[in-house]
Symmetry: D5
Subunit: 142 residues, 10 copies
């Protein structure tokens, strides 16, 4: 079951803007209609919030799971979070929007983009792109 409490963050290590991209080629979930597994590459791109801003804005969030909030997602926690979809029956679009929402809530980034590339079924491959905040134009088709 997708479990966003697995996600952990650490404070943005620089006050200058930069962009982080994590590409997982090993995402799998289950089609809720057929019960067959789906396979995807999941691309996460975001510009983390500046250190100070993220700290102050987050303090009152009252995050349910008590995990420390922060500007950058910790890599191993991201991997565990992705693995929590393994046996979930869930459509392409819901996977993409769920990941976008969970990470945006956690990271409060300047902008964030999720792109899922699905191996496809019945001869049709699919790509779903979801955004949070103002994603710069040049990233939108990548």
């Amino acid at each position: 079951m997708p479990d966003r409490t697995l996600l952990e963050a650490f404070a943005t290590p620089s006050d200058q803007p930069f962009v982080i991209e994590h590409i997982s080629d090993e995402f799998t979930s289950v089609c809720p209609m057929t019960g067959h597994p789906d396979f995807a590459s999941v691309v996460l791109r975001y510009q983390p919030a500046a250190p100070g801003i993220s700290a102050s804005k987050r303090s009152g969030k009252g995050r349910a799971n008590g995990a420390p909030a922060g500007g950058c997602v910790e890599l191993k926690s991201l991997k565990m979070y992705y693995q929590s979809f393994r046996n979930e029956g869930i459509y392409y679009e819901a996977v993409t929007n769920t990941i976008r929402d969970d990470l945006a809530r956690m990271l409060m980034p300047v902008w964030l983009q999720i792109v899922t590339h699905w191996r496809g079924r019945g001869g049709i491959r699919s790509v779903i792109r979801a955004e949070h905040g103002k994603v710069p134009e040049q990233w939108k088709t990548l």
Copy 2:
């Protein structure tokens, strides 16, 4: 015979904008002049209408085939729709424009793009691009 009544839709699952791309590498139709088969990859890209807007605007459409209208095309129905071109004698341009029109009427998307890549004949490969609504600049050459 191309049959748009095969298409089915489901409601947009998010009220945040996102882009859907479906790539079929298994499209085939027949050249009306020579009777030889044509083969193409068909790329569909669109930004679905927001959930509320699409629901209200569509209610009075009186769609002839009674199929439920919606914001996102259902994948298996898309595959069956593409298969309905299999033995149709129809030119490249007509295939591309027909698919564009049928899907735009069904989905009422913010924008939609159809790109057909044909294996070609006589040493000439072809790509046809058709649009509905205001396709963002950066998608136009992809």
Copy 3:
């Protein structure tokens, strides 16, 4: 319906051994179980019979369709023959063995090999290899 009477041959143009390879990337038939189309690349390789031998051995064959027999398959007739499978419900193995049998009967080659590469279904791609006569070792895995 697969129609071997479409095949035509011409006499081997040289009395020195040589090998002919024709690769069609545009083969399609229909799955007899699901009714969905299948797509394949079909590779035909063979060493044609020597001119004299093939002429004399063939004269008494009494071929049903009266088409001229010969050592090399005519390319356009091969294309038409492949197209005759377009709407046939037939399994991978049967396609491969049928083509092997039809061409071997027609061409009486020293050896002949058919390799079909299928785009696959449900995440599984398939390759079927069938042979006639003594195919040299080094061709068997290509």
Copy 4:
């Protein structure tokens, strides 16, 4: 000899804007200086004129060869036109500009672009890009 009377057109089949791309990997002409053959891939891209506009504007053109004018170039006639350069002694730039001029005169498109990719000589490959009308920015480097 390059022969633009070979070109034929048909009326634009849609009143919505779309873009057509034809790629020929089998173009050859002759270097006028050395007499050696040159080989190129020729890319033609254009947005055809709208159906009504092209009909009315063209009626008074008095085209010398009497061929029917139209919005879209017929594929087989394009192939024959390209073949008419086969034994012509002509430079890269002249090939590119000639094709641009002949097709622009014939099709009266909204815009048109010709890109020729030459295999090169003496270790230098070349690409020549010519335009007619206002080619959108994003196409210019493709």
Copy 5:
């Protein structure tokens, strides 16, 4: 849990020798030591037993699960069988040998080869090759 009773076979459709290859790019199991998922492409190659031989030799086998035995594995059953490893904690070598054993028992082929290509962990990718019967030399490194 790997479940060989999911496998189904059908009679070899030809009495001439041929080779079947099925490639699944969507295999996943779980590392028994770390609990993390493993991902592999699984290649199955085999030469099915001749129709008559396989029928007679198999009749007295008393196969525990009562499933019909045969010369060729049915594709959808192979897919379901592979999916039964999804949540199994099992090492690379055991996966490879288990698949080899289950299919060899079922198909009684002339020869059979299983090659598993694993995406790897800690910067090390792995390939495991297992065989049944006398696999021809030229297949052994593919």
Copy 6:
């Protein structure tokens, strides 16, 4: 230990703007959490300061290590600098920001961009992009 005193520069050899790109496929450091080595390709892109401007503005910088400052980084010194990270326990983001800062301080460029492509861990590859000055839009996603 990352050692910026290893970096050396030479005066910009032209007063016309140009862009320099150096790509090192052999960067390695150590993960501070696990102690395992990390591997990256590091891309440095920058537009050097004009010759005169960089000379005058730099004269009062009082650079600690006394090395000559300049507009362009000397290649061998860049290699030695990268090698100084070899046994350093340091995160992806810190590597990227450190290199950006050290080179920007040294070169005082019009703009500068560092992109690090990491081979990844646990099935997730990462790319980090950091900037100094006003990097032109078209470079930002490369």
Copy 7:
């Protein structure tokens, strides 16, 4: 018109065996049936005759065209010879066998192989392989 008198040779420069391979990606001839151009890559491979042997055996050959015979084909003459097929109406098999015969007669090599890769027509690509002398097994499928 194919003109073997264009071919020139030079004496084998070494008395130790070696293998020469020339690959021309710019071969073109004309289909005798349709009049359309054909395009091919032509691969020539051979082991030249040893210097002494080829000299003595050739002296009494009385070659019709009086051109100097030798162990290795001169590259520019090979190019001119290939160009002489440019406007010839000739089938794939005849091209391959003609080149094989002309070069074998000229070079008297230990062995020689001609492989022609044709871009194809109607969706079928072809490869023709012809041999002279005893071509080692490992070259036969390349």
Copy 8:
């Protein structure tokens, strides 16, 4: 020694704007520090001056070497010019700027771009981009 007097030009053959690109994969010079050879691909892109403008503006230039000036560089002369760097001890940046300056002086183009891709040394590959005039944005990163 780089010798710009080797360059020759011919008049722009069209009064419509077009872009010329020449790619040489065979550039070599010598590192002035180590004496080892450097290898590069050199890309030249430019929009030639319009025929009339270039003629009139150039007439009073008093070009030192007396060679005819023009809008387009002649290909063989470009090759000879590049070869004149073969044994020159010269840095990457100087090569790039020298070629830019020599060609810009000769061709007086609307704009011109030189991109040199160096095979690199010590594990670092380099790309240098120099410009003359107003190079359109979309070319700058190619």
Copy 9:
């Protein structure tokens, strides 16, 4: 310092012959002459000893480090062993032969092959292949 005591093994899990291949793309050591780092992909291939044979033959080996001997190398221990070369000054050939010797002593395999692919220096890439036991012919050049 290369440390073979890091290697661990486990008993061969099958008494049928199979082949194991592990590919590490992240090997690095140091050139003893220049002090610069070297980078390699290391391929290990072997056929493990049969379970019974390896157990009995190994019992009297008196392995110095007391680690359990066995037929298959444990993956994580292999990774740690490779990492122990990180700061060792050692030539390509010595790396390859050392790994071969350490693993052969540990695993007592039927055969074993080590192939190291080095990124190279000064424009020369290198591949070193070492063997233990009778490596089958078809593996020798892979």
Copy 10:
């Protein structure tokens, strides 16, 4: 001028057979007929002589240049040797045979193979393969 006295060797570091492969992508010489530069990738493969054998057999060789003989070629000396061809007017075949002879004399290997891949001229690429000793079959076409 090709200078074999630049070559240096070191003693074979192992008494077990292994194979060494060095690939240089930066070879250049000059065509003696046209004066234009030629570019090649040069592949050297060999099995070095066993340590003892090579030492004893070589002692009485009386090598003219006094350089130390040995079983393995030193990499930097190989690079300098290749560079000595830079301005030599010499044909493809002579380059290949000269390198083969110089290295075979120096290294006295069990076997040695030189493969030169030339970028080609006039649309024809070439590969020359020369051998010393008994090169195993499987290497001959690589």
